[in-house]
Symmetry: C2
Subunit: 570 residues, 2 copies
């Protein structure tokens, strides 16, 4: 395997054998280690010393179901710490098939010098961005696929990333005209923008024989794993996650009183029934949209949808739970049509819907729009694309919006907006938000699925639960596995160990693999420590410890000492 270094100072590309230190790493694990080794932790995240890292997980390119996610990483301009965000689409698989361990963008060109990195088999070159500069991610993806072929993978940023806004993510195309898979969180779109990289295009690799270390071991484990996904009652063809996608949980999150509503001022939303996954599917199918399709080749879960308008025209896909909560209930919007329009606009500008929904919630609290009033919210969001001062405030995320607009109720940890679970009534997620080296992030360890195991309103057991989930998340993000595909691996980690040993011949034991996963967190925590992040930063916002959240009227009351102790047994 090889690294592709892209020197944006000199506008040169360089292939490099994978250094020994990185050999057994992929995705998030590789990002953490590369940042620790190569990036000064205190550097300006939008300056020349940060690096943009694009890496498939360890399973990338090996046709494992739901395991082709692409990790994007760097020092986050939002949190000031380590950042990995990942997305579906075809790019993770393509890089894996090309034997590319990672693409690493380094240095910084003059401002307003925009380029495209074009990768074709074992060649790579930087091309002028030309007329895609300034475009949204949809038009960018369209034009680049017109130019390089419809099967190419396009990784791009929109106006938000070009404008160095810290709410900007990175967009990844998928099969058949899919445009909206996003490695959304932590401002990595701004890091890509700071490198002057408008897009990375990867030509679809030619099929080639896979050099498997132990083909039988791999195939047998991969087959068992896929069969377990198919047989899983939630994931299989009659399962809620296949049928309704992530939106399947709207009702249940509302039920436990954790659905962010009107800038996190309530945990249940009277109009939540209109936002449910069942409604989403029904409306989508009735209007001729898509449901139950895939974001990654070969995925047997197939949870994707494409929401359509009343004329049957596709608006956006896939409409996800986090978007429904943050730009839906959190903004008091009572219908999916409204959510879909805001979602499309976020996607096109290349904005994280979580960060942006939270920022809009704060803007509403400041009186700049009205909860439930789509027009006023669209008018605000449009300004991000226009690059007005107010648009840039929103586009820079919830903490900046709170500061500029003078709002104290800012739902964020470590500078990053909270996703769709209020931590006061799902305290395990609060522990994860506060302590994850990634900042407030549900994918870093989501306790929602364990709500019957650990009382979401209680303090007991939350720190142990969060640690367990954070280790699992590190595993998923380093192998390229989708969150949805975790049950078979959690039930039998040997399956993952066998797949990896089958591919790479490392002869890992389950214990070694466990250590590998824990090391991801250790490495990230060390980067953050060097960046100056301390226990004082790994905290829940003050107001959430004091302002009771309806309907349960609970505050976040997991003691700081518990937060400080999460990693004691790492």
């Amino acid at each position: 395997m090889k690294l592709l270094r892209v020197d944006m100072d000199q506008l040169l590309v360089k292939w490099e054998p994978v250094p020994a230190l990185y050999e057994r790493l992929g995705g998030r694990a590789l990002i953490a280690r590369l940042l620790l080794e190569e990036v000064p932790a205190t550097c300006d995240a939008l300056g020349p010393h940060n690096k943009l890292i694009i890496a498939p997980g360890l399973l990338g390119g090996w046709s494992v179901s739901a395991a082709g996610r692409l990790s994007v990483g760097g020092k986050s301009p939002l949190t000031g710490g380590v950042k990995e965000a990942n997305a579906g689409g075809t790019a993770g698989d393509a890089l894996g098939r090309l034997d590319i361990k990672a693409v690493v963008g380094e240095g910084q060109p003059a401002r307003n010098s925009w380029h495209i990195l074009y990768i074709h088999e074992d060649t790579a070159e930087l091309l002028p961005a030309g007329d895609v500069q300034g475009l949204g991610t949809y038009a960018t993806s369209d034009r680049l696929q017109e130019r390089f072929g419809p099967d190419s993978s396009v990784i791009s940023i929109g106006q938000a990333g070009e404008g160095l806004m810290c709410g900007a993510g990175v967009c990844v195309t998928g099969e058949g005209n899919q445009r909206s898979n996003h490695a959304a969180r932590g401002g990595l779109g701004a890091v890509m923008g700071s490198k002057g990289l408008k897009a990375i295009v990867i030509d679809k690799p030619q099929a080639k024989p896979l050099p498997l270390a132990d083909e039988q071991l791999f195939r047998s484990a991969a087959r068992t794993y896929a069969q377990k996904l198919i047989n899983d009652p939630k994931l299989g063809r009659s399962g809620s996650q296949h049928l309704y996608g992530t939106a399947s949980i709207v009702a249940a999150v509302n039920e436990i009183g954790s659905l962010p509503t009107r800038n996190f001022s309530a945990g249940s939303f009277e109009a939540s029934p209109q936002l449910r996954g069942t409604v989403l599917r029904e409306v989508t199918l009735a209007r001729g949209g898509e449901a139950g399709t895939r974001c990654m080749h070969g995925c047997v879960i197939a949870c994707r949808n494409v929401y359509a308008d009343e004329e049957g025209k596709a608006i956006v896909g896939t409409l996800q739970y986090e978007t429904i909560s943050l730009v839906g209930s959190n903004l008091g919007l009572d219908n999916l049509d409204a959510v879909a329009r805001l979602n499309y606009m976020c996607n096109d500008f290349g904005l994280d819907t979580i960060e942006t929904g939270a920022a809009l919630g704060v803007a509403v609290e400041a009186g700049l729009a009205k909860f439930g009033d789509l027009d006023s919210l669209l008018a605000l969001l449009e300004q991000v694309g226009q690059g007005t001062a107010l648009g840039r405030v929103i586009g820079n995320g919830v903490v900046t919006a709170g500061r500029v607009l003078g709002v104290r109720r800012v739902p964020a940890c470590l500078g990053q907006a909270m996703p769709g679970y209020d931590p006061r009534s799902l305290k395990g997620n609060g522990v994860t938000y506060a302590t994850s080296p990634q900042g407030a992030d549900h994918t870093a360890g989501n306790a929602f699925g364990a709500r019957n195991e650990v009382n979401p309103l209680g303090v007991q057991g939350q720190k142990e639960l969060s640690l367990k989930l954070q280790i699992i998340a590190a595993m998923l993000d380093s192998t390229g596995l989708c969150l949805f595909a975790r049950p078979p691996i959690i039930a039998d980690p040997q399956l993952m160990v066998d797949m990896l040993n089958g591919i790479y011949g490392w002869g890992w034991t389950k214990e070694e693999f466990d250590r590998f996963n824990r090391d991801v967190l250790r490495t990230e925590l060390e980067f953050n420590r060097r960046a100056g992040i301390t226990a004082a930063d790994y905290r829940i916002p003050e107001y959430m410890r004091e302002e009771p959240l309806p309907p349960h009227n609970v505050v976040f009351d997991v003691p700081d000492a518990d937060l400080d102790a999460v990693f004691e047994t790492l």
Copy 2:
């Protein structure tokens, strides 16, 4: 002596005997200790757990020349750490004469509930702010002095503080219609605004016999000190500081290449001759303004000026060096008329001219105005008063402006804008900016005066110089002494010890007094440590280590290890 606690939750005032722990503290020393004891270091600086502390220095109320400065403090919303800023005017003296060790604003009322604290001899009450809410500091001071008498001291905030903007300071009136003494730095105006306190009015205290512990000791030391000020060649009646005020140094700072010019992109300014103190005095006197007047009763230095327009109408007083550099050369403005207009507007909105000048410099770099073009700069600044989104971005200071506007060249340390000395060519100030618990602040330890002692372009000796100056600054800010009045005390610290022993009878030795001054820094560093501020935060911006500053083409090259070692011998 007593403390006046103002409970803004309950809208109650309470007199309290001074706790033993605070008895021998004043000004900055008291603020540091009170914050450490009473304010959770990780609290929201604009939330209910921060406290606004208004305290005279230890010499306040005792008619010592140039020693009546008023300290304002709290946790800074800009730096996230400890903050003390001080101002001249009559309030420091008034509080001292009333035997009030400090006024402490606590808690937080409902939003948009605005009050005035009115102190008359030994009574205090909260009154509705009524029609002064929403006004600038000039009109607020005017109306409140109309109501409470022309001799009353008014401490107020403008629109910036009311709007919780982090570039907001606190304005203090002085004798004879003086309106513009500002405890400007660190966003304390926003802290005052977060308490719903529009103003504090102190009726002029009736003269009363001073209960001096040793009248002869005090009077003798105070007389010697004042005589030394009068005899000092720089401070006396023919001295540059009396004649030209702080503006006396424009030429010399330009000469050493440290004058912030066009957003800190150069260290000398071709039009600096038009900004000099000599020009300031000449024009001021020719137009019928004031020069050589006082900001504090009984000050023998008298460095104040009131700049007038061509019709002889007062624009603003006192026009100071930091303002001339940050809103003058830093914005490419080549005349004092322009500086005076921006200064007036900042004063009226209640904005720190340093923070705001730096933010405007960044805004120009982002293309929102032009260097040297007053109209475009006035148009930007006007938006702060109007409270537009862009105005709020500027009003929140240089780091927020840099982030929102996507500018990397942000001259700040610990979240606070640098004052008028580029650290690349006055490296001692760079060490102070980076390491002071107060953030980038010249009054925390200004190496300019020592430029003939330690080479400003060299690395050698800077950390030792900065520490020495930081200890002196802690002494000045805790006793209420003006920076200009320090030479006699530095030459003979026993004078200060005698004045304090004469007043309080503490029997301090010089060594004990030295320990007292060092303890101020220790206490502040401990508060910051608890707030999560680490060595990684006590740093100079990355670009200043890489981008050479004309005309000497030097970068800031004092090693981080030196920065980390500054307080080793504290």
